[in-house]
Homo-oligomer: 165 residues x 2
């Protein structure tokens, strides 16, 4: 099926937190996110890839100005889980291609990643849904990444003139 990317979005002031080496067992994610929920911290992206040898890394983003309370909340979770480490980066931004019918995302990912590749922008994290592909990039590159998405999906054009992918 065809899909149409209808827009692009940017969240400029994110911070990324990663809990490394989380035991890959039921309840571990809950331990982390219950502590965060207790502090009423607003989480944006959550990314976890498959575990390796019984451990997984869980990353998530929060508004940059919520980094410190997040690190405090995560520190206690990490300790009680026996996770390996907690890292963070406050120089990141989320950029997204937003679709109208992106149930098949392959063409969108291909085109979006080509554009970012040609602009020399490194993709730090990827997360997707049927209507959205989001990448985390460094903040200095975020505006360029947004411009790239506008260009590769012809978003400055009228919707009827836009190609579908």
């Amino acid at each position: 099926p065809n899909m149409a990317v209808g827009g692009a979005a940017i969240t400029m002031n994110e911070a990324r937190i990663t809990v490394l080496g989380v035991p890959d067992v039921p309840g571990a994610s809950f331990e982390i996110f219950s502590r965060i929920a207790e502090q009423n911290i607003s989480v944006d992206m959550i990314v976890q890839n498959v575990g390796d040898e019984g451990h997984a890394d869980i990353s998530f983003t929060v508004p940059r100005d919520e980094l410190q309370p997040t690190l405090d909340a995560v520190a206690s979770a990490s300790q009680s889980l026996g996770a390996l480490d907690v890292t963070h980066d406050e120089n990141v931004a989320k950029v997204s291609a937003v679709g109208l019918g992106m149930a098949q995302q392959t063409g969108v990912a291909d085109r979006m990643f080509r554009g970012l590749s040609e602009a020399g922008i490194n993709i730090q994290m990827i997360t997707t849904s049927e209507i959205k592909i989001s990448v985390l990039v460094s903040r200095p590159e975020a505006q360029t990444a947004l411009r790239v998405i506008h260009e590769v999906f012809s978003l400055h054009q009228e919707p009827t003139d836009r190609p579908t992918f």
Copy 2:
């Protein structure tokens, strides 16, 4: 802000592919997804966590019956990238909580992960958008995971009776 989970979704017959140890440089994601796009393979989830020492793991899911052509496409990408390895699992399913206004997802993640934890279901991958939290679980656990989501978000009730989180 409050948010409402309006529904749950399940994609029962997924297969997960992971390219391990991808060089964490611009163009690497494009190399993988261009090969997949060339084969017209429909990709569902794409998950990448932050890299470590110059390498990152990229996972994605496809319909289970597209696994073999996907492995063929990825094999050549992996080789040209000098990635470490390619792994896969065809015994997985995607289960999601779908929201109406989930711009702040913390309460949803907390509640969803609590339910899965109490049911003893292991979360293999996590990906999110403003309107959705999706987890990859083993296929035998998928129906239970779906039931859990219905229960923790009271999805059998009329919308006006549902709590918001």
